[in-house]
């Protein structure tokens, strides 16, 4: 969202390979060693070649253990850090004057917006001493090449897009974008989040990030599809939930999602779904959501039982192929959607994923040069690939380094807002959530194998906090937020600071973590604030 | 999952090596310091070193298990290393371990050449070199070690 606004397309600007040849890697809100282990391999290759690794994370993680520097930031204070870094960079003249003048717009307003963000002020909010903020600003600004990577620690906040803008601003200020070894790298949480965006699974976009508001684009698709298209964006998920609440939205078709377990404020989600007139779920599992459905379409496992493509965090479009037969009457997603269309009276032909892809690439210039043959031969290709003789684009936005830059990349001033919930006497702890290495999301996939560390859900709590509460290592405690209550074993951990606790959301059958989390969402991206929930902890009587 | 170090031990270790830099090159001096302080090394001590120095536990073990002199025997016994290499063997040093094994609280080990070939048989009692070793002077040295 932030990247698309500033640069015109929502993809990471660098390749994994860029991590090998850079001088500074700044990870913010990312535990790559556990959430993106193979990207972490690339990061560490760079580290072994001399790059400095700095991690900003409220927790100590496997990633921070390998970092040269770990800034253990207070939950939800990233913008304060980013603005203070910008403050230092501008104050001390470390910014890239030529790049800023040539390739960006809005610098003056931005400079004014960070003028009162002295590191001392940010220190009080982030919990990081001012000298370390200054030092990081210097190192980032003076590095020959630098990459900022981030994950859900940045985007699962009520001000997620502002968080991203805060980081993009730093790259624009220093010219660390659009060059080999310098860039902005969002590490995507799910295997095809990028591919979904590529294919237009966004309310305001058609395939290839083409805007639905653009009449020329619409005309192109209308001609190809033989149907009129809405000229205004549809609803994002938050808006859908609001519409369900208000009773406008009465039917829902859910493909490959398990919102009953995965959405914040689980009790609320369930009540919304109960009030729907029709719920259709297409999935490979009888998930909690599927259990509520009026109709369930059994699907095939996309990566092992059907054909298609995924796009990864470096914009690499790669082939997915069926390796085995799906069970029983299951069908792949394209077949089900086609059959549904036919049942609704549209005479679509049953064609495979290849023909869908071919249609898409002829309509979306970024993908035009990708054929299935090329994708296989080259181990996937990184968009944009405008023609069939184009090699793909490892680095995005190199245009920013041309003599004439048009359009320019705008600075976006952002102000820090605390998390929607902050500790109170009644709810004195901040719960933050995240992934554990061996597990994934709501566990429908990762609970199928026998991992030696699978002991169900547990909560990490600082030993001093635990002792204060009279909680022994391993005791089961009740965790209560304004929305719900769960019971979970608490283990002592020095990975969290005092006042913070950590849980994952991998074992909803054991502990429904998301009953607690707040459904305050970012108005721009629709992402909920999973990372900051005020809770109270009670010993179980 | 890593060995549970328990905070107290980690903190104790941190205190014992407080003056040593925490970089990897100080690993062996750190192990020596801890061996001297605690009498011997142990798995939980190595786990504490891992925490304090940010070196993976297995790596520390890989290094520590290489060296023959680092002590692992708990109960603070006196370790006697008798050279049974060529030159000391010619002077019948290989008989000494048999004589010494009756001493309580003494662990006798055979050692490669101790570099005392002109004054063999040689032995190390703790870290003290005994030249022209006999059951008698070894026993005296062991006694001194225990009481002094």
């Amino acid at each position: 969202m932030g990247l698309a606004t500033v640069f015109g397309s929502g993809g990471g600007t660098s390749s994994y390979e860029d991590f090998h040849n850079t001088d500074l890697i700044l990870l913010v809100g990312s535990n790559a060693a556990e959430a993106h282990p193979i990207i972490f391999h690339h990061i560490m290759k760079g580290v072994h070649r001399g790059a400095e690794l700095v991690v900003v994370d409220p927790r100590k993680t496997l990633t921070t253990r390998r970092a040269h520097d770990h800034l253990q930031i207070q939950i939800g204070s990233d913008i304060a850090l980013a603005n203070a870094m910008a403050h230092v960079i501008i104050r001390d003249g470390l910014w890239h004057r030529d790049f800023v003048a040539r390739a960006t717009s809005g610098f003056d307003a931005y400079a004014a917006s960070v003028a009162d963000w002295a590191p001392e002020r940010a220190s009080g909010i982030t919990g990081i001493v001012a000298e370390r903020i200054e030092s990081l600003a210097y190192r980032y600004a003076t590095a020959k090449r630098a990459i900022i990577g981030w994950t859900l620690g940045i985007t699962e906040h009520h001000n997620a897009v502002d968080n991203v803008f805060g980081l993009i601003n730093l790259a624009l200020l220093t010219g660390h974008v659009g060059r080999p070894g310098s860039g902005l790298s969002p590490l995507r949480g799910q295997n095809n989040v990028q591919g979904g965006g590529d294919m237009g699974a966004l309310p305001d976009r058609l395939p290839g990030f083409q805007s639905v508001r653009d009449p020329e684009v619409r005309a192109k698709f209308e001609a190809a599809w033989g149907a009129p298209l809405a000229s205004e964006p549809g609803l994002n998920q938050t808006q859908m939930f609001d519409a369900m609440q208000e009773g406008h939205l009465k039917g829902l078709y859910v493909i490959g999602e398990n919102p009953i377990d995965s959405e914040a404020n689980g009790h609320h989600t369930r009540s919304l779904f109960e009030n729907l007139d029709a719920l259709v779920v297409q999935d490979i599992f009888m998930t909690a959501t599927a259990e509520m459905a009026d109709v369930v379409f059994p699907a095939r496992v996309s990566f092992a039982e059907s054909d298609g493509t995924y796009t990864n965090s470096e914009r690499r479009v790669q082939r997915v192929k069926a390796a085995r037969q799906g069970p029983g009457q299951s069908q792949d997603d394209v077949w089900i959607v086609t059959a549904l269309a036919r049942a609704m009276g549209v005479p679509w032909e049953f064609k495979g994923a290849a023909s869908v892809f071919d249609e898409m690439r002829h309509l979306a210039p970024n993908f035009r040069g990708m054929t299935y043959e090329r994708l296989e031969k080259l181990h996937g290709m990184q968009w944009p690939v405008p023609s069939e003789d184009h090699p793909g684009s490892p680095v995005l936005h190199t245009r920013l380094w041309e003599k004439q830059v048009n359009p320019k990349a705008p600075f976006t001033s952002v102000d820090w807002q605390p998390p929607v919930e902050t500790p109170t006497a009644e709810y004195p702890f901040m719960l933050t959530t995240g992934r554990r290495l061996a597990f994934y999301n709501t566990g429908v996939q990762s609970n199928g194998y026998d991992h030696p560390h699978n002991i169900g859900e547990w909560m990490e709590i600082h030993p001093h906090d635990a002792e204060m509460l009279g909680v022994a290592d391993g005791d089961t405690v009740a965790v209560i937020s304004r929305r719900g209550r769960v019971e979970v074993p608490a283990y002592y951990s020095l990975n969290v600071y005092r006042g913070a606790v950590f849980m994952s959301f991998h074992f909803p059958d054991h502990v429904e973590t998301n009953l607690l989390s707040i459904d305050a969402t970012d108005p721009k991206s629709g992402t909920a604030e999973f990372k900051a929930t005020a809770v109270r902890i009670e010993t179980r009587q | 999952m890593a060995v549970n170090t328990g905070m107290p031990l980690t903190e104790r270790v941190a205190a014992v090596v407080a003056d040593l830099p925490k970089d990897r090159s100080q690993l062996l001096p750190t192990l020596w310091r801890l061996a001297d302080h605690f009498g011997c090394l142990s798995p939980s001590l190595l786990a504490a070193v891992s925490e304090v120095m940010h070196i993976p536990y297995a790596e520390i073990y890989g290094v520590a298990s290489f060296y023959a002199l680092l002590p692992w025997d708990p109960g603070q016994p006196v370790i006697v290393r008798v050279c049974t290499d060529v030159m000391c063997s010619l002077k019948n040093s290989s008989e000494l371990p048999t004589v010494l094994k009756d001493h309580e609280g003494v662990v006798v080990k055979e050692s490669p050449c101790l570099g005392q070939c002109d004054l063999g048989p040689a032995a190390l009692v703790g870290s003290r070199v005994v030249r022209n070793a006999t059951p008698g002077n070894l026993a005296a040295e062991i006694g001194e070690m225990r009481h002094g």
Binding site: M44, N192, A304, Q445, S446, D450, P452 | A2
Partner: protein, 281 residues
Amino acid sequence: MGNRITLTIDGQSVSVAEGTTVHAACEQVDTFVPTLCWHENLSPANACRACVVEVKGSRTLVASCSRVAEEGMVIETSTPRVANARRVVAELLTSTTDYSTAPELLDLIEMSSADTRRFAGGASWEQPVKDDNNLYIRDLSKCILCYRCVEACGDDAQNTFAITVAGRGFDSRIDAGFGRTLPESDCVFCGNCVAVCPTGALMEKTEWTLRSENKWDDNQITTTETICSYCGVGCQLSLHVLDNQIVKVSSPMDHPVTHGMLCVKGRYGYQFVQVEDHMPV
């Protein structure tokens, strides 16, 4: 593309890019030099010494896998000294190790005419299989101490450092620290050690079980390349399928995202695909 240098291999003049190893130079002229511990994606360990060649002017033989070619170097790959060294290396390894599932070692035995019984009968590596988790086993009777697993676990890929070479000399061994089981150790079960093991000392539990039941049949296994369905990294998977069941997952060593390495979910988290009762259909 940098400078080029010229060297002589078995009397033949060869031009290679500066920085090329002697072994890679030999490959360029189709001169086969055997390797055991060397792996394309790992730092050379220099441990097995199967790849030694004679370099004119050098007192000892030279490990070709790590030695960088120099201008004017004169290399012989099959002198009597080289042949003796290779043969003895094969004989020493086979005297300690169960080499039944080690293809490169079997090749080395054949090409060097090694007598696998010549040094047998002494101390060996025979020991019980370590079966302490349901993802992979460790059969250290088959270990040749090539260091590959340690490097893959360490700074060449995973950076977990859960295992190390411990002890020394003949008693050197791969260890997670005081002989701990893997679940007790820092191991995160990515299985990258398994992926690079050349001897079958490390093996997926599924493969090991099927082999012990005589059900593993390479000719019946199909391999399909696809992409992992977990996080957004986009790792290429090779799904090995036997009787419509995924029995193993690996990744191609030349893939630009993975370089053959995966995480625990990608390598082992596939069981959900074939839980046949996952949906009442």
